[in-house]
């Protein structure tokens, strides 16, 4: 449909500005809700195929925008649950099949072929709940700020993340601390972050990325945002984060990642660069440079891969978790059959 095309257009980055993950999540959900409400489908299996093909299209358009795929998986899970409820299965058995059950069930356990007239309304209702849940994610994360930020601490962050901004601002209401922002060249989103923080009377310092290691010894905590949390607890975050994480590890400074649950993706970092994103080299070496451009290759990556062993703690809207616990959260959020769309 036209809205889907427009949405794909936007997540490709052809639109005027780079989309926020939260907006992307909300838009994906609204789009899927529209498809469920107006699409032609008779039973749950058909609906799931519909959602899956639409999801494949959207994720293929911009693989680095993992939020889209995550929301599609959430919706698929919702459909499974609603179908299961209508089919008369109890909640617990759905949650985790016992080994004995798996052995005795024999092949495909469900075909989702029974049509239920109330399924449509139920699924839409559940998606609305998801949307409401999305609304509160940033606040939920920010609420935990006081547990982590103490008075007179020096906090380091990198680039610009709305979640981290809200987190720090919340803490600043009660406590006084100092923030050092790495500017995150070449896009320098760090500048915007610093401006926004200083407006809230937080003592803020901007520094170049090269100074991260030198300053790290003075830092009490590193708090960052991320684009995606991978299934192994690793991050796909703005480039420069890996440097920051290594420096933090060297100085044994705790590294805290603020990320809402919709950023948790069941993908593993096995395919080399599949969710990487390289943008125009304009920011690194401007087009106006002239002759040299014909002879050079300039790369401008947007994201870094940060391995899980460098991360101390994840703070999500449902609380704080260690990287090793991510697999468990994942199995709660998504159905194993949907890991691959």
């Amino acid at each position: 449909s036209a809205t889907a095309a427009a949405f794909i257009h936007e997540i490709r980055g052809s639109g005027p500005k780079r989309p926020r993950s939260e907006d992307t999540a909300r838009q994906t959900l609204s789009l899927l809700r529209k498809i469920i409400a107006h699409g032609r489908w008779g039973w749950a299996g058909e609906l799931m195929d519909l959602i899956r093909t639409e999801g494949q299209r959207m994720t293929a358009a911009q693989p680095s925008e993992t939020t889209v795929g995550n929301m599609v998986r959430r919706v698929l899970k919702v459909i499974r649950e609603e179908y299961g409820r209508l089919h008369g299965r109890s909640e617990e058995s759905d949650q985790q099949d016992s080994l004995h059950k798996l052995l005795t069930s024999g092949g495909l356990s469900e075909d989702f072929s029974t049509p239920y007239p109330s399924l449509r309304a139920n699924v839409i209702e559940a998606i609305n709940e998801l949307l409401i849940e999305l609304e509160g994610t940033t606040d939920n994360i920010a609420m935990q700020a006081l547990e982590h930020i103490h008075s007179n601490e020096v906090i380091m962050t990198i680039g610009y993340s709305r979640t981290v901004e809200a987190f720090l601002k919340e803490a600043a209401r009660k406590r006084k601390f100092q923030v050092i922002v790495a500017e995150c060249a070449p896009f320098c989103q760090g500048h915007e972050m610093a401006v926004r923080l200083s407006k809230e009377n937080i003592e803020t310092t901007v520094m170049s990325d090269a100074a991260i290691f030198a300053v790290m010894s003075r830092v009490n905590k590193v708090i960052i945002g991320t684009k995606t949390i991978l299934a192994n607890g690793a991050l796909i975050a703005v480039s420069g984060t890996h440097t920051l994480a290594l420096a933090a590890k060297h100085h044994s400074t705790p590294l805290i990642v603020c990320a809402p649950m919709f950023k948790l993706s069941p993908q593993f970092p096995n395919e080399e660069d599949s969710f990487h994103k390289f943008v125009s080299p304009q920011e690194v070496l401007p087009f106006t440079e002239g002759e040299i451009l014909a002879k050079t290759n300039v790369h401008c990556p947007v994201f870094d891969y940060v391995p899980p062993e460098l991360i101390t703690l994840f703070i999500s809207n449902i609380g704080g978790n260690a990287p090793s616990y991510i697999y468990r959260l994942m199995s709660e959020l998504y159905h194993p059959d949907d890991y691959e769309l």
Binding site: A2, A5, A61, Q62, D273, Q282, F287, E291, N297
Partner: protein, 707 residues
């Protein structure tokens, strides 16, 4: 309501758009896409495929243009096609643009009668297709620009001063020497830095000096900027008036005509042109193969982000790529043999199979290609279905659909194999070779070409025509050579057109370019900076005289023709004399090739001068004309040092033919305010003898008079 109607009418004929934007929602943004270049720059490639459909990084050019338009918020696009319109239409109908979900409605306007951009815009006006400001692009623009800011500025200007600004041209900042700067599109612009108004627009055409009208700097404008760091994106925001102006001025053919005409008549018509310069975004126009190469590599190197191959913006299932380190893009089902290296900046289309131990860099490979073992590709652009056998080396060349390169073939830079050509085995194609299945002298059968099944057509033409030259294409080859070492002027043109004029400078050493270089050099370093018109006029005069020489046209008729040219280009009598002398003096050079022997030169010149005496006499009337002619002669000999010795003879002839008078010659000789070189020329022994002789003759004759 009535009052509103009159207000609308008063806003001018072109102001059919809502004149009260605060009441009505703004009309949807429209675009006019001209999917034809109205030239044959891409022949013979474009014989098989219209230019707009040539693949750039495996996606047709027109798709980039449409994506650019859509991304920038255009809701309705008129695609004007002429050459191979059916193919363009078919392509677009299969694409995502014609799906009902497309935010950009594409409408086709097809006519065989369009011969230029001017015709298209006149048709836009005749059919009154545009309702408000529209974007004008050609079908070969690759860009990720967002014109909304430029559009806002344009609209604001139009609102501030009613309908004065008619067009906003969009330029990209890029310093000279940039690889995406097209030599033939190079421009010099004078602009008002406060308002971004274009004051002067001139193509450089390889000139080193430029002349700007004095009035530019005498006006009340405070800051005039003269810029040579701009790349013309060939994207312009036009008001509906532009189409009307094209209708009013039926001689406007191109946008250049339009811009020039508007700037010249600015005071009379009161229309202005503005410009918008972008620094961050990308925009380029593919006018020759050099640009094709440059823009392709820019796409691969991600300058046009987000229009990169792995984005698959055309939503075509066959066009999904994965992007990995060093800008390597791989399609689905690509197989790479053992030991093969994809070094950097490589795009490989779906279903392509590459053999072992190949080395590939800076190349684009289409879909379903077969590449053998030990192949080296550097800067190669292979389109779909190309077969390459073992041990082939290809550098900076374009190989079109389903062409085949057999074993051990070497392609030097800038070769072109058009579709279904076969070359090899074991042959080396020299630099700049173009091979096509269409023989170069094939008659124009444009009309039935695209409607028929091309395969059948080819079979027929193959039977009709003589066999392929095995020397050119190898023992198993198929195809005709379009460019060879013979001194055919058409070939020279061909090279220039396909790869652009930059090639010329690179290949100066080649023997076949000498001919044209000889004639071009004096022009480019003419001592006095000349305006374009004079140059064109000079060429026209040269052509006229050449024809006169070949066809023995009488001098009276030549005078008539030159007179009409003179008026056409608005040439003053002074300039006329200089040009005429110069052309005639240069004339023998054209015929003698580069053999600059003063003896030969003079013997060739003498009969010409005798023939054309009436011509001179017609124009030399006042003494200042004599002087002008002499200056032109002097200038010519200063430029051609080796011919210096014959200056006395030439002057003698002029004198004897009673073209130049002795007083004036003496007068000229005694002029003091000349350059050092001029003084040296005057020291020439023969010349001094001649002058001495003249002086004596004068004395004698004056003596005679007195007696």
């Amino acid at each position: 309501m009535a009052a509103r109607g009159t207000a609308k009418r008063a806003a001018g004929a072109g102001a059919a758009r809502g004149s009260e934007p605060q009441e009505e929602p703004p009309p949807p943004l429209q675009a006019v896409l001209v999917a034809d270049s109205f030239n044959r720059r891409f022949f013979p490639i474009s014989k098989d495929r219209p230019r707009a459909l040539l693949p750039m990084a495996n996606v047709a050019m027109i798709d980039y243009t449409l994506e650019f338009l859509t991304a920038t918020g255009v809701e309705e696009t008129f695609v004007f096609c002429c050459w191979k319109s059916a193919e363009i239409k078919e392509h677009l109908q299969r694409s995502k643009w014609c799906r009902h979900t497309s935010p950009n409605t594409v409408r086709f306007v097809t006519s065989e009668l369009y011969r230029s951009l001017g015709d298209v815009l006149r048709d836009v006006d005749a059919k009154s297709l545009v309702r408000s400001d529209f974007i004008l692009v050609t079908g070969d623009v690759v860009s990720n620009l967002n014109v909304s800011r430029a559009l806002e500025e344009h609209k604001l200007r139009r609102k501030m001063e009613k309908n004065v600004s008619v067009m906003t041209m969009i330029f990209k900042e890029s310093s000279p020497g940039h690889h995406a700067r097209c030599k033939e599109d190079d421009i010099v612009i004078a602009m008002d830095s406060a308002t971004n108004r274009v004051l002067h627009y001139q193509r450089t055409q390889g000139l080193k000096r430029f002349r700007f009208p004095m009035s530019l700097f005498q006006n009340s404008i405070e800051n005039v900027e003269v810029r040579h760091d701009l790349l013309d994106c060939h994207i312009s925001i036009c008001s509906p008036q532009v189409a009307e102006l094209f209708t009013d001025n039926f001689d406007y053919q191109t946008r250049d005509d339009f811009v020039r005409g508007l700037l010249v008549n600015e005071e009379i018509l009161g229309n202005q042109i503005h410009m918008h310069v972008t620094t961050e975004e990308y925009g380029a126009h593919i006018c020759n193969l050099l640009m094709y190469e440059a823009v392709c590599s820019d796409i691969i190197r991600r300058w046009v982000y987000p229009l990169t191959p792995e984005m698959n913006f055309t939503d075509d299932k066959n066009q999904s790529y994965t992007h990995s380190k060093h800008n390597i893009y791989r399609g689905v089902d690509v197989s790479l043999g053992h030991g093969s290296m994809l070094k950097e900046n490589v795009l490989i289309g779906q279903g392509t199979v590459i053999g072992s131990n190949c080395s590939i860099m800076n190349s684009v490979i289409g879909q379903n290609c077969r590449i053998g073992n030990e192949v080296t590709l550097d800067g190669a652009f292979l389109w779909d279905g190309v077969h390459i056998a073992d041990n082939v080396q290809i550098q900076h060349s374009v190989i079109c659909d389903e062409a085949e390169v057999k074993e051990k073939v070497k392609l030097k830079p800038h070769c072109v194999l058009s579709s279904q050509v076969v070359v090899g085995p074991d042959i080396t194609l020299s630099e700049g070779t173009v091979i096509s299945l269409h023989p170069p002298d094939e008659e124009e059968e444009d009309d039935d070409q695209f409607s028929d099944d091309s395969g059948v057509n080819k079979e027929e033409s193959k039977v009709k025509l003589k066999g392929y030259n095995k020397k050119d294409v190898g023992s198993e080859g198929r195809g005709y050579l379009w460019k060879a070492d013979d001194k055919n002027e058409d070939d020279e043109e061909q090279r220039q057109s396909l790869w652009g004029p930059a090639m010329l400078s690179e290949e100066e050493s080649e023997s076949d370019s000498d001919l044209s270089m000889g004639s071009e050099e004096p022009d480019s370093r003419a001592a006095s900076p000349q305006l374009d018109d004079i140059k064109v006029f000079q060429n026209e005069v040269l052509g006229t005289l050449q024809r006169g020489e070949e066809e023995n046209i009488s001098c009276d008729n030549l005078v008539l023709e030159i007179n009409s040219l003179k008026y056409a280009y608005n040439i003053s009598l002074n300039e006329m004399m200089q040009v005429l002398s110069k052309v005639i003096l240069e004339f023998p050079l054209q015929q003698l090739d580069a053999n600059l022997d003063s003896q030969n030169y003079f013997s060739a010149l003498l009969p010409l001068l005798k023939n054309w005496t009436p011509l001179f006499k017609n124009y030399i009337k006042r003494s200042s004309d004599h002087l002008n002619a002499l200056f032109a002669i002097e200038e010519f000999f200063l430029e051609h040092d080796s011919l210096c010795t014959s200056i006395a003879k030439v002057l003698m002839t002029f004198y004897q033919l009673e073209i130049l008078e002795e007083d004036v010659i003496l007068n000229w000789f005694s002029l003091r305010d000349t350059s050092d070189k001029g003084k040296q020329l005057r020291k020439n022994q023969r010349l001094q003898k001649f002058i001495q002789w003249l002086e004596e003759a004068e004395e004698e004759s004056s003596d005679g008079d007195q007696d």
